[in-house]
Symmetry: C2
Subunit: 388 residues, 2 copies
């Protein structure tokens, strides 16, 4: 909670995630904003500002100045901001919106994120994604699967695990995606399928990797106490914290952990004033299976090195005994990863859980949840803690 007033979420809408051939980037933005306002029963004139998250439209379609494009869609003169922090663009937009609301009590904003990736060849998309890495890593021919494969190799070697200890994450997240109508992949996979999937960068197979997706997500956040009191379904943002780290692996302090997640997580728990064990649902940045395990350890949910064992026990899968259920949306792996939308979808999924709107994937007795969004290979991390 911030000062004397709460900052709360009033609504969430996400488009379908997937290969949306007939929709443009701003078709998706428009659907998400229009539907969000309609479902939340909030009028356009009640919105004081918009925060827009997008990573790649400049590179892929020579399309910048999205703030002005949204102004045209909505026929408005309100402030509109674009934020970009690679795959953490959505989390950064949420963070900046929270700062705006802390600075401006009584205001209401939309945070919308979108990405349109499938209109381009995989080569174009992969090269564009590397814009989030360091120059040396680009020149060395690395890709993001390659970078995370290096992290996976270090982790498996350091803590004596096998591919199955990380691959189990994909099995769990596909099981959750199977329950999410909006997911890019609404199907289960077996551990055998993950382990035998074609290698992208050893040890990571294609089923360890999140897909290239189209989609948009949007939430309404307010610091207007009257609106919060009137809302039928709402939850509060208890903290939103962000930390950065060197973009190059070469310059990092360690490689079995993402320091940006550790720093942002510690700050977020301190600000929220709750314990790790209070968190019952979390959306973690599982761009690759290994990333969710590092995230669980770096956020302090699991001890360093324990993750491989606990992942293979499926502790964080719906219906299982773990104290925390992770990535009920399907995560980036199964729900999909339209980059600009991801950080907002994560916060939206926690909103659905805390307000008991998560349908077949509802976790019971939830009072607190966490969203964890990572840019690049850990150059930026955002941690947002929500509560009812």
């Amino acid at each position: 909670m911030y000062g004397n007033y709460m900052i709360s979420i009033l609504g969430y809408y996400s488009t379908q995630f997937g290969e949306l051939w007939e929709r443009s980037l701003f078709d998706l933005v428009k659907e998400s904003i229009d539907s969000l306002l309609k479902e939340s029963k909030i009028e356009k004139k009640e919105i004081d500002a918009i925060f827009f998250s997008n990573m790649m439209s400049g590179i892929l379609e020579n399309n910048l100045h999205g703030s002005s494009k949204i102004a045209q869609l909505l026929n408005t003169h309100i402030p509109i901001f674009r934020s970009e922090a690679a795959c953490a663009s959505g989390g950064m937009a949420v963070y900046l919106a929270v700062q705006y609301l802390k600075a401006n009590p009584g205001k209401t904003v939309i945070v919308v994120g979108a990405e349109k990736m499938t209109d381009f060849s995989p080569e174009e998309a992969v090269e564009g994604l590397m814009a989030a890495a360091s120059g040396e890593e680009q020149e060395a021919g690395l890709t993001f699967p390659g970078l995370y494969a290096l992290l996976a190799q270090i982790y498996l070697n350091s803590y004596h695990y096998k591919h199955e200890n990380i691959g189990a994450i994909s099995v769990k997240n596909h099981f959750h995606g199977f329950l999410n109508e909006k997911a890019h992949f609404k199907r289960k996979v077996t551990l055998k399928q993950v382990l035998s999937s074609p290698k992208i960068a050893s040890p990571l197979g294609v089923l360890d990797c999140s897909p290239i997706s189209d989609g948009a997500s949007a939430i309404i956040i307010t610091s207007n106490t009257k609106k919060i009191k009137q809302a039928k379904r709402t939850c509060s943002i208890l903290s939103s914290e962000i930390a950065s780290d060197s973009i190059s692996f070469m310059e990092r302090e360690r490689l079995d952990s993402l320091t940006s997640t550790v720093v942002a997580g510690n700050k977020a728990f301190k600000e929220a004033g709750i314990k790790r064990s209070d968190i019952r649902v979390a959306e973690l940045h599982d761009c690759f299976s290994i990333a969710e395990i590092l995230g669980m350890e770096d956020l302090g949910f699991w001890k360093k090195g324990e993750g491989g064992k606990r992942a293979l026990a499926y502790e964080t899968m719906l219906g299982n005994s773990g104290s925390i259920i992770v990535n009920t949306s399907g995560g980036l792996k199964a729900a999909g990863h339209p980059i600009g939308a991801t950080g907002i979808k994560q916060v939206g999924e926690i909103f659905l859980q805390l307000t008991h709107q998560a349908d077949k994937r509802q976790v019971h007795d939830v009072y607190y949840g966490l969203a964890h969004n990572v840019g690049g290979s850990g150059g930026t991390a955002v941690v947002t803690i929500l509560g009812i």
Copy 2:
């Protein structure tokens, strides 16, 4: 002034603007941050966050996630944010920094903006710049000189002026640039030269147009009252306001005015609690000569339609009788327009004026100043009012 505490500028540094063949984008960022800290006698550990403004590095050099690249340069984990709003990216970064400081009393931030444009062919740069315009305008083959030439034609026809009425702006700004060591063009031009310069898009000749430049600028802003009291040279940010508008001319209410400037300007004067006549120095967004005239009218300094006459009287030139002196830096026209840096250089120039550090271009008896930064052809406008 915001609430009970002030938000003040503690220092400003700008690199040389121009064709800097031997410097990369992040060379320029590093020079501006390192030199800013050194000259301001502030240590890196005193900085709580960084706001980074850049428009085109994604398109031109497949370079995104600048927040993490800056984290590496500075070996830090503090929050770093990238903002993009086309040519208003710098103004937007200042705005977001002010919001952050309003939300977090006692904090100190750097706002840094940079652009590296001359490593690319003019065709690549011009095409990339069009990313800030609408899809229809891109498809129609328009360029930004073309878009502003349309505005100039409408203005000249509506108010019965000739090219000389707008071209005089370039003469004035080149005279100011002649006095600024950091300017891209440190030379005077005559009105005859402007009028006979090769046409880019009629009525605009090359000497009506700002150049493609490299450069970086940075300021330190704080909400820490102790730091403000200790500072030898400081001025306050009285207001920072932003407004948006439809990106396409087709969807605008009128074309002899930029509505985003009108809306942002009115809000900024209301928030600052001062009158137009209190402003003694201003940096206006003169991407083209016509743009400064529209800006003067839209900000309420000149009545609608008067601008052509008053520009030709050189009222706003150093040493002349006008109540307000405009673009002492040389403006975008002569100081140069490294996009991400521009909005920050504007605020920095006002800081220099208000703290009597503007050397040969110092305006006397200055207590209030204004910076006006425009994105695209008016899709975004930011107005920042400063005072001592």
